[in-house]
Chain length 262, copies 2
Amino acid sequence: MPSLELTFLGTGTSQGVPIIGCDCPVCLSEDPRDNRSRTSLLIRMPDLHVVIDTSPEFRTQCLREGVNRLDAALFTHAHTDHVMGFDDMRRFCEMEDRQMPIYAAQETMTHLRRMFQYAFDTPQIWKNYLRLEPHVIDGPFQLGKTTILPVELPHGKMMSTGYVFSREGRTLLAYFTDCACVPETAREAARGAEILVLGALRDTPHPTHMNFSQAIETAEAIAPGATYLVHLSHEVSHSKKQPELPVGCQLAYDGLRLTTPL
Amino acid sequence: MPSLELTFLGTGTSQGVPIIGCDCPVCLSEDPRDNRSRTSLLIRMPDLHVVIDTSPEFRTQCLREGVNRLDAALFTHAHTDHVMGFDDMRRFCEMEDRQMPIYAAQETMTHLRRMFQYAFDTPQIWKNYLRLEPHVIDGPFQLGKTTILPVELPHGKMMSTGYVFSREGRTLLAYFTDCACVPETAREAARGAEILVLGALRDTPHPTHMNFSQAIETAEAIAPGATYLVHLSHEVSHSKKQPELPVGCQLAYDGLRLTTPL
């Protein structure tokens, strides 16, 4: 049966979990759900395999999950924990002998172009190099049968981009991470989504990321089928935190897969 | 006893081994020595813990090896497989509440500054952010009791930087990777080094990297105590290739440690 499959490639915040040299209970935890590489989501439908962000661990995430096809990459913003695996997309260019379509808002694309200048500026003639097909987004766009609506989310002095995926009348997925809040226009776009993914850093407030109570309030306003929280810090123990969350709201973890018939 | 400890954090070429989606015998090998993250070397002496390059896997390499102190980072060049773990040095700034001294040739530093602009340009006031102390090198420099001599190596249209480490009259280590050859000035600087690390991609020639026969010829000319080969491609099976190498010349592998009394 045709299906939508979501694979959480990574679910951790900027330094991942465990953090280098940290001996807190979560960083020393043997629960694999507490082992969090940097946040990224793989979305697979029969006609479209797309990743949101390429974290520093993108290569090992792909190896872990057996990813051998990628049709496009979307970017939320250009902070290091979301983009440093960018060059490893080269392998998907090589395997299919194709350019890799990438989608990002203007500000994000400008940063990507600065950071990965060689990939944007080099003649794209080498089969095993990263060959890009950049698309600056400023409104909804179509990939296969899927419509993707970008929404702006405040993230400190900058904006990050959230994405809402719809297909044949269904709002399949809304993905909002790295934001201080989810403004009403974005909530409206996501309302009733089958799956909502939200960034939720920790219990205590943070100037540029939602904490748990803000994410829970946002999820209640959007009223999705189910909510999954990502971009989790080492202050979050999976086994301790999960029982405190409302019904329908779950902590994601690296390697978690969700499958829905299409 | 005071000692020099070398830890091979990574030993693979640009895409690492296994390569995403590759089903060659080496990429499917269960020999852990065939599992190669991107090339980086950690050098530890009582007064100095220094890394050469910060590969995309730098965070997980540090976790694997229990690295919890770093006093400086040297860079060979700014290709993605050598620098994309750069931001993960932030943790060593946080733990010691210090800036991280980084050393690179002018061209490499210019690229690092472009790629990691935020870390160079932001006021360095946040305890858990990457705080840099950049040093552009153009000749020998001293770190603790160790003298480090940079040498230029041709790497396609650009140059990479090799490093020769000396201490109290001993030439401890020469590290030459990502080069089409090792010119006579660099050979002379490294002659008789106790340990020589050379990049050696594969059997067949490559325009910008030494292959095995070029690396072996270079090692014979330098006549070190021992030679270790890094930056290995997925064409190299450890168990098959090692027996073909001359006495004193070994394939390095991720996690290999060498210890020498000082």
